[in-house]
Every structure is written in structure tokens, then in C-alpha cells.
């Protein structure tokens, strides 16, 4: 891979993996305290899938680009070296917030993997195809809840609508292009965040309307995560996530 492509490509994969890792970690915070046991298990599984996908992507960076071992990459960097979006580092909040985030994020992941399964970079295309089925389930799970709660009583409707409105500016912030994205587009590696966001907006708009939501007010995307600028929520999450690993980084697991 040529240098002008290698740099943005590594950054792109790292950003994708960091988003998945932080999202998975946040979602896993519901484990054991979910609304009912069936949902607890389903949501924990989704979190596990996301951490697993991050691991696969870090592994790709290790194998093909000489990065450190995935555990090292995941557990020893500080917030400035993490490129995840502000969306995924937001605290879990109430279940309505977590569900709205889950719906918007996983729908974007589904479209992203559909695009990446056509990527000219074969190892990434293979991973995207592998992840697609997992995310199809995530989206089914999220959509079913979004529909169910907008079909519920006045309390559930109001709470879901305000969760959607609240999370939306953060959601828009996940479509943050890496520097040099044009090269990735030109090489047929990735179709670009703008194209992804367009496809996603179309689907989100149609689905929210169909389920009886008001479209959230247009908002300024909360960018910055992709450049290593974060809110006060990321570093404490990273401290907790890597706590055990850092006790003895050379331990065999």
C-alpha cells in the first residue's frame, strides 16, 4: 500500500475500531442492571459483538501494518490517542438514551459495513462481510424497541422523542472524515463519510417518520473525537477499561 493511502487508511481503521471499543464498553455497563433479564442478555451480547469487532480491526492493524498487540493498543493509550466520537463516550444515561444511541449508531454501522464489503482492500472487505450479520441483528433489536416504545404510552413516547433529540448532534458527529479521505475514495477503499451519512439520513428520516417520531431538529455535528479531542467522559472510561491490564501488562491471559 502506498504511503499517501497507508496513513489515512490506518487512521480510518483505528477510528472505526476505537468507536466500536468505546461503544461496546459503554453498552456493557448495562450488564446485570438491564430492564429485564432477556433484554439484559441481548444488550450484553451486542456490547460483546462490538468489542469483538474492535479486536478484529486492531488485529488487522497489527498483522498488516505493524501495530502493537490489540490489548496493548486498546488498554494503554490515553484520550489524546483515541479517535472515537463524542457519541460513544457519552454516559449510558437512562435506557431511552442508550436505546436511541444504539439505533442511530448501529444503523450507521450496517450501512458502513455494506459499503466496506465492496472495499478494494480485501482484508477489510472480508471483515465487513463477517460483521454484517451481527449488526443486522443489532439493528433489528434497536428498531424493534424504537417502534415499540413510540407505540407505548405518553411517557414512553415523550421519553423516546427527547432521547432522539438529545443524542442527535452527537450522532451526526460519528461521520468525521479522516485526513486524506479523498485517497481512500479514489482507491475504492471506502466511499467516504459524506456518502455514508447521506444514505443513513435517508433511512433514519423514513424510519422515524414511519414510527411516529418527529424528525429531530437540525444540529451542528459534535466533531473532534477523530482528532483526539474529547469530552470529560472518555478518560475516566479508559482508566477503568484498562485498569486490570495495566496492573501487569506482560501477564499471559
Amino acid at each position: 500500500m502506498q504511503d499517501n493511502i497507508k496513513q489515512p487508511f490506518q487512521q480510518f481503521v483505528l477510528q472505526l475500531a476505537d468507536n466500536l471499543l468505546v461503544m461496546g464498553h459503554r453498552n456493557s455497563e448495562w450488564t446485570g442492571i438491564g430492564p429485564i433479564i432477556e433484554e439484559d442478555i441481548a444488550f450484553a451480547s451486542i456490547a460483546q459483538d462490538q468489542v469483538g469487532q474492535a479486536w478484529n480491526l486492531y488485529q488487522l492493524l497489527e498483522k498488516d501494518f505493524g501495530f502493537a498487540h490489540p490489548d496493548q493498543v486498546a488498554f494503554t493509550r490515553n484520550e489524546k490517542e483515541f479517535f472515537s466520537s463524542h457519541l460513544v463516550e457519552q454516559p449510558t444515561g437512562e435506557y431511552d438514551f442508550s436505546l436511541a444511541r444504539h439505533y442511530f449508531y448501529d444503523l450507521a454501522q450496517l450501512i458502513r459495513y455494506e459499503m466496506l464489503s465492496r472495499s478494494s482492500y480485501e482484508p477489510l472487505a472480508k471483515l465487513a462481510k463477517k460483521f454484517h450479520g451481527e449488526v443486522k441483528y443489532h439493528v433489528f433489536h434497536a428498531q424493534t424497541w424504537m417502534k415499540q416504545l413510540m407505540d407505548g404510552n405518553e411517557v414512553s413516547k415523550a421519553r423516546m422523542q427527547s432521547a432522539v433529540n438529545e443524542v442527535f448532534p452527537f450522532v451526526l458527529g460519528i461521520f468525521e472524515s479522516v485526513e486524506g479521505e479523498e485517497a481512500l475514495i479514489a482507491e475504492g477503499i471506502f466511499e467516504g463519510e459524506a456518502a455514508l451519512k447521506d444514505a443513513w439520513m435517508q433511512m433514519v428520516g423514513a424510519q422515524l417518520m414511519e414510527w411516529g417520531y418527529a424528525l429531530p431538529p437540525l444540529a451542528q455535528p459534535v466533531f473532534g473525537g477523530g482528532k483526539g479531542y474529547h469530552s470529560e467522559y472518555l478518560q475516566p472510561l479508559l482508566d477503568e477499561m484498562g485498569e486490570v491490564f495495566r496492573l501487569d501488562p506482560t501477564a499471559e491471559w
Binding site: I36, E38, E39, I41, A42, S45, Y137, F140, H141, T144, W145, K147, Q148
Partner: protein, 129 residues
Amino acid sequence: MKIQSLDPRINRIQIDADAENPQAMLHPLENWPTYEVFHQKKRGTQHEHVGIVHAPSSELALAFAKEQFARRGETVNIWVVKTEHMMATDYSDADVFATTPEKTFRDPAAYSVKEKIDQWVAKQKNHAG
């Protein structure tokens, strides 16, 4: 024959309702209704009943069943059926099955050919011995 049940989740055919022994009164459920889950390992094989999930709708029942019962091993398909749509025999009527084990004439082992086979096996034993 009654088709009413005090258990709101299930209909039981009571072939011989016993007035002396009424069913325990069940209170309305606080939880969501239950769905029976059926799991299919391979296309063309029978779905097998594997358990229940609580859910507010059949779609969410499917979403839950996938993680409760299909997180390990092979799966190609899942069914969910609302428990109240199931029809079952009552345990107090289990006597309708009581004499079944005696009806050995329904087993292949009961056919006269079985005797022939036993004789043949015995002969072979003697021959070898």
C-alpha cells in the same frame, strides 16, 4: 369438557374437571406475557422447543430468543409462539397416557419377526461358541 383455565397464559382442555381439587388461583401477571421458543439447527429438521422468553411483542420475543437460545451452536431458524396460544393437555389427565407402555404391540419389538431375529442371534452365538 372445559377449555377455560385459571392460568391466563395457557388453555388446558379439562377432560374430567375435578370439583374437589380446584386449580390454585393465579393472579394477573405483573410481567410481560411469555412466548414459547422453538429452535431449528438445520434446514429441513424439526424445530425443537427450548424454553420461554418474556416480551411485550412477538418481534421483541424473537429479538430476545435469538440471544437466549441461539448464542451458542448452530441455528438456522427460530419460532416464537405466544404461550396463551398454545393448547395443552392437563397434568390431571395424564391417566389418558397411563396404559401406553403396556401396548407393546405398537413397538416394532413386538412383531413376530423379532422372535426370528432373536433365534438367529442365539444360533450364531452357539455356532461361534
